[in-house]
């Protein structure tokens, strides 16, 4: 099944980027700290960081006694005065000394304690630990490791472990920029039919036959939300169709900036449909900024005017429930579109058709034909093609590997695909 998916999804736009992607992604070796013998500490500069940090690894003390606690000590010279910088109580025996300054030289050693007690170990200057003071006093023996050093923390110029992410991002960005420039140069980019838009055309036709108004809500967010912009793009197409059919359109909004933009959009649509005179400003009217006040007013409008078609395109939140319920009560056809994950279930259950998440933005790109939106949409599709191929390839390799564990090449090929998406 995975192989057919792998084959079907390759189409003429995707495969060019695909080949370039895989060829560029050479394997990335990840450095592992060397192993350690007996009870000793190893200090090294933390790799791939901006300096100011020394990493310390030590092997756990022989009998992992109850409440074992390690005291990390640092000194400017091998025999110099050791000053405790941390009391570490953690199962993975390591510590990062983030107070080390770039360029200075340090020496480290670690002491193992049976249990932390107020004033137990002599040099310990770590704070009196009141909570464990409540625990019973225990005999204390302090075993120090050999001194590790000299070590100084330096800043690296390129974080090698993130090379794979760097390449993936370069490929995706190149694809997006390529398609935006293609769209700008006027090349026709193919976007599939969005089922929701067909449903909208029929719904507007139905309202015209019944001679009842159409209600459009652009969501309760302001113009800075990309969902509101997509909603107004769809409003432009609705206004064009409505202008031709001469049906009444009602757009109550909850932001003044959205009101002015919506009015301009509808005026342009009416002019484009050749009916500039039948446009009037109070098609779009401001209600209130407050969420529940807005929904109470919209409810009133719906009950009074009984619109045949209700369209909700934009950012909706908890008030979507009340609006969808009133729409069902007056028997209107309801079509919604939002990218809010929490509201999608209610729209899908209550409305006749719903544009789900990205479909709202795809519809806006499809309708506006605007180069930036179209180019990004195609660029994102390249990303999806790469993702689907990686899944198909990974699944195929890993299944074969688990079927035939003997073959080494299958193992490290699957491991290599995994490294491409390694995150660290």
């Amino acid at each position: 099944m995975a192989l057919t998916l792998f084959g079907v999804v390759l189409n003429r736009t995707g495969w060019v980027w695909l080949i370039a992607g895989w060829a560029a992604l050479a394997g990335v070796a990840i450095a592992q700290p060397a192993d350690m013998q007996m009870w000793s500490v190893k200090a090294q500069d933390r790799p791939s960081d901006a300096g100011d940090a020394v990493q310390l690894f030590w092997s756990p003390i022989a009998p992992a006694a109850e409440f074992i606690c390690y005291i990390v000590q640092r000194a400017p010279a091998a025999e110099g005065p050791f000053e405790t910088i941390a009391t570490v109580v953690s199962i993975d025996t390591q510590y990062v000394d983030a107070a080390a300054l770039t360029g200075d030289v340090y020496f480290y050693r670690v002491a193992a304690l049976d249990s932390v007690e107020a004033g137990a170990a002599d040099q310990t200057t770590s704070p009196a630990d009141s909570l464990s003071a409540a625990s019973p006093a225990r005999t204390v023996d302090t075993i120090y490791t050999a001194v590790a050093g000299p070590v100084n923390s330096t800043a690296q110029w390129f974080n090698l472990r993130r090379l794979n992410q760097f390449l993936v991002i370069i490929i995706l960005s190149a694809a997006i920029i390529y398609f935006i420039s293609q769209a700008r140069s006027g090349k026709q980019l193919y976007v599939r039919k969005i089922a929701g838009l067909q449903a909208m055309e029929e719904a507007i036709g139905r309202a015209t036959e019944m001679g009842r108004p159409i209600l459009f809500l652009p969501g309760i967010h302001d113009m800075d939300d990309v969902q509101t912009i997509a909603g107004l793009t769809i409003l432009a197409r609705v206004a064009r169709t409505v202008a031709e059919y001469e049906t009444t359109l009602n757009v109550p909004v909850s932001r003044s900036l959205v009101m002015t933009t919506a009015r301009e959009t509808i005026k342009e649509a009416y002019a484009a449909a050749g009916r500039p005179d039948s446009y009037n400003d109070n098609m779009v009217h401001y209600v209130t900024d407050e969420q529940f006040g807005y929904v109470a007013a919209v409810d009133g409008i719906m009950m009074r005017q009984k619109p045949a078609t209700c369209l909700y395109m934009g950012a909706f939140f908890a008030e979507s429930l009340i609006v969808a319920e009133t729409g069902a009560e007056i028997g209107a056809i309801q079509i919604a579109g939002t990218a809010q994950p929490a509201q999608l279930p209610f729209f899908v259950a209550a409305c006749d058709y719903t544009l789900i998440g990205e479909e709202l933005f795809a519809a806006s790109a499809y309708l506006s034909g605007e180069p930036r939106q179209l180019g990004s949409l195609k660029g994102q599709d390249v990303g999806k093609v790469m993702a689907m191929c990686a899944l198909g390839l990974g699944a195929a390799l890993l299944t074969l590997h688990s079927l035939v564990p003997g073959w080494p090449i299958l193992a490290n090929m699957a491991d290599w695909v995994g490294k491409v998406f390694q995150v660290r």
Partner: protein, 222 residues
């Protein structure tokens, strides 16, 4: 000029966060930028509060029908702010005592007795709206909606003890709550992952357009 410089700033600051991710040595620049963002975001929240105050004052002076409510907004704002800023003079010198939550401070009293009930009850109303919407709006009108409502009912029953009581006849570990767990950890996880990857690619392309200055809407562009 008013539009060019903000675009350059957006591109430059965006580039900082991308470059420092790959070149750790430059991370100090990112620390400074992050510090500035914390302060600018703080002023942005202040802007929200002061903007509400400005709107209320304008509504109050314009004698429109909602003027009374605007007066309440202003009075409550001043009372809360006064209670909160009381420690200014309390310390030995100006602004030395920061603790606006000292024992039985009026600020905490206002939070407990006014802010908590209002905020909590406003969202509690949604329970009523969900119930009435379930009764009147949620219909299994097509295959997708039927699948949705079916999964929702299994989830609602599976996540309360009643689910196991009803399906008690099934062996241990196979009752309704196990079904709910399996639905969450396999199909829902896969569906959410598909949505998450789709949204991530969308955000990456929008962010790229902003950083490269292709997108201008945030500076009032075309």
């Amino acid at each position: 000029m008013r539009r060019q410089i903000p675009l350059l700033i957006t591109g430059f600051v965006g580039a900082i966060y991308i470059v420092t991710f790959f070149i750790p040595a430059t991370r100090f620049v990112e620390t400074i930028a992050t510090d500035w963002i914390l302060i600018i975001q703080a002023f942005a929240i202040w802007l929200g509060a002061l903007n509400l105050l400005k709107l209320s004052i304008m509504k109050l002076s314009s004698r429109k029908p909602g003027a009374g409510y605007a007066a309440i907004v202003i009075v409550c704002f001043l009372i809360t702010a006064a209670a909160g800023l009381a420690p200014i003079t309390r310390g030995e010198h100006f602004l030395s005592d920061h603790n606006y939550l000292a024992e039985n401070s009026t600020f905490e009293w206002i939070y407990n007795s006014v802010y908590v009930p209002l905020n909590a009850t406003m969202f509690a109303l949604l329970a009523f709206f969900v119930a009435s919407a379930s009764y009147r709006a949620f219909r299994a009108r097509n295959r997708e909606a039927t699948l949705l409502l079916g999964a929702a009912c299994v989830m609602m029953l599976g996540r309360v003890p009643l689910g196991d009581a009803i399906t008690g006849f099934l062996p241990e570990g196979w009752t309704l709550s196990a079904w709910a767990d399996v639905i969450m950890n396999f199909p829902v996880l896969a569906g959410q992952r598909a949505i998450m990857i789709g949204i991530a690619l969308g955000i990456v392309s929008t962010a790229l357009r902003l950083v490269l200055g292709i997108e201008r809407s945030h500076v009032g562009g075309d």
